[in-house]
């Protein structure tokens, strides 16, 4: 765990912690709702990977864009999404961010820049390039954070999208959440290079491998990438080594333990980005056990209220079936 706290204010550090915890509590509640049969569709949980979304989004402004994935709840929360409307979307309710049309994999929140979320692995990468293109043409100083997994790094759009963004020096931060598995297939069994970041050489852009379980390391790497992008120096590829503590999806037998060893799973759980960060913050005197408990309770309350809102919200009416297909 990083010791380089010196340039971050106590408030920033506590904010990082709180955001990660909020994602964790949201996802735990989602798992519970799924198990109880309240969620009609598939959910891919972000538990274990919280440091990535939070470390990235803490560097972004409201008007900056986020391109999310099928495992995207964490990205939306980290960017400032309202958990009431997120739960409503998961439940297929009319008050959801996509009015119940998208569900878990297609949650967007345009007013805070969460502008794309795709169920197709790798599809968001060239879209992020296009958002960068729009920024370049309009000459604003926005940036795009494009999340994708190790699986997406083996798609053709990874190559095409990053190459084009590099050639045109577009303000995109490509964030690979390498959780080591594409569903059940280990990255290392289908890829000869050790790191996704190594591929940046092919595009002539800088890259870095960071410990994705350490929010400070992610934050600092992205800070530099965002600076480069805002100053017109183009894209950066950041690979965060991370791990999902649940299965690929809720319902994946043994939380993914059919294709991952128990020892490996336990080993990664010891690297929990939230537990370790909390210990560090207490040790360094940024907050106390009591303060931490206070944050936890506040977080749980917010989640409970959000679930209540979602449960009480109406479903869309069947006669709305064709709404919003065209303008």
């Amino acid at each position: 765990m990083s010791d380089h706290f010196e340039r971050l204010s106590g408030k920033t550090l506590v904010d990082l912690y709180t955001k990660m915890l909020k994602i964790r509590k949201f996802e735990e509640k989602t798992a519970e709702l799924f198990a109880r049969g309240f969620i009609p569709g598939l959910v891919h949980l972000y538990i274990g990977e919280e440091a990535v979304a939070v470390g990235v989004c803490a560097n972004l402004r409201k008007e900056d864009y986020v391109v999310s994935t099928h495992r995207g709840h964490g990205h939306s929360i980290a960017k400032g999404g309202n958990v009431k409307r997120m739960f409503a979307e998961l439940l297929g309710k009319k008050t959801g961010y996509s009015k119940g049309r998208g569900g878990s994999m297609h949650m967007v929140i345009p007013e805070i820049g969460v502008i794309c979320s795709s169920g197709i692995v790798g599809a968001g990468i060239p879209i992020a390039t296009g958002l960068g293109l729009a920024i370049d043409v309009k000459q604003t100083d926005q940036v795009v954070a494009c999340f994708f997994g190790d699986g997406a790094s083996n798609t053709g759009t990874f190559h095409e999208g990053i190459n084009m963004a590099a050639a045109w020096k577009l303000p995109v931060i490509f964030v690979c959440e390498n959780n080591l598995y594409a569903i059940s297939v280990p990255f290392k069994k289908v890829t000869l290079v050790k790191n996704v970041a190594d591929r940046a050489v092919a595009y002539g852009i800088p890259s870095v491998v960071v410990d994705g379980m350490d929010v400070i390391m992610v934050y600092k790497a992205v800070q530099e990438a965002v600076r480069r992008s805002r100053e017109g120096e183009g894209p950066t590829l950041i690979e965060c080594k991370t791990y999902r503590f649940r299965g690929h999806y809720e319902g994946d037998p043994k939380k993914g333990g059919t294709y991952r060893s128990e020892a490996e799973m336990l080993d990664w759980e010891k690297k929990c980005p939230i537990t370790n960060f909390k210990a560090k913050l207490i040790q360094k005197g940024f907050f106390t056990e009591n303060k931490a408990e206070e944050i936890t309770q506040k977080c749980i309350k917010e989640i409970e209220e959000a679930v209540e809102f979602a449960m009480e919200s109406p479903y869309p009416s069947p006669n709305e079936i064709l709404d919003n297909l065209f303008e």
């Binding site: 961010y97 967007v108 794309c116 169920g119 060239p126 960068g132 370049d136 053709g156 919003n324």
Partner: protein, 343 residues
Amino acid sequence: MRELDFSAAINEALRQEMKSDESVIVFGEDVGFFGGLFKCTDSLQKEFGKKRVRDTPISEGAIIGAAVGAALGGLRPVAELQFIDFVGCNGAMDQIFNQMAKMRYMFGGSLKVPVVVRTPCGSRYPVAAGAAHHSQSLEAWFMHVPGLKVVMPSTPYDAKGLLVAAIKDEDPVLFIEHKLLYYIRRMPSLREKYPSITCHVPKEEYVIPFGKADVKKEGQDATVIATMMMVHKALSAASQLTKEGINIEIIDPRTLVPLDKRTIINSVKKTGRAIVVSEDCKTGGVAAEIASVVIEEAFDYLDAPIKRVSGLDVPIPYSPVLEAVAIPQEQNIIEAVRETAGK
């Protein structure tokens, strides 16, 4: 009369829209410096600069994906897919049917994707043999995807007005240009054979609304519904049929989505006979869809079975002798009309 080549009409629409709206940008393979393989984007880069008119790498997935992203970011991108045959390359089709077509709907109407994908289709027989990978007509694929509008002009006048409408549209549009239409006005023999390619194109901007078919020729004996190059072949066939005493009505839907069913149905009610002419493969094709519409909505008015004149279910072959057989020719239309309207 102010005549323009098909490609010049497209170029004029792009130029006028880029002039009046700074959010319109153009990119694709060879569209900048080179002006496009068919010269549709000629000199746009010179006029509007390298930021707004870009040459891309050969990356069809990134071209269409970047168009989607640019639209989400507030621009009105016009992306060129160099040949419609490349739509399956490198994830381009995913960006079209999974991303741009679905976003407005699956995001609950919170976002819009005003992308225009311009792409040439069709056989260039008898001008140039493009063979299996540069000659296809795949428009039916896009008709099958809810959320896309599909536009297929047949004349320079329609091309300009429809492209202006496409760029102003708030939804994704597949703007399909039949390649032979680029050539026929420039080649004396073809220009004589298909005089309908020559038409007045107003200099000023105008919009042709989607979902409005055009009656290219009035008649009372049979309704021929035809698209793109097939409109001209049908008109050419009509001259021969008139000599035989059969006066056909020719309807060009101009947009497949939305489809102007009303104009088609009204014509069939008048003539009692329908022939659908489309260059794409017959099975699961455009003609199948239009014929179904006629059966559903005007069956009682039909005096004869509907006929489809379509491309054969075969890859487009290279040898001109074979290519001529693979796609509908005037003679096929004449025979189909004779059989349907038989006098």
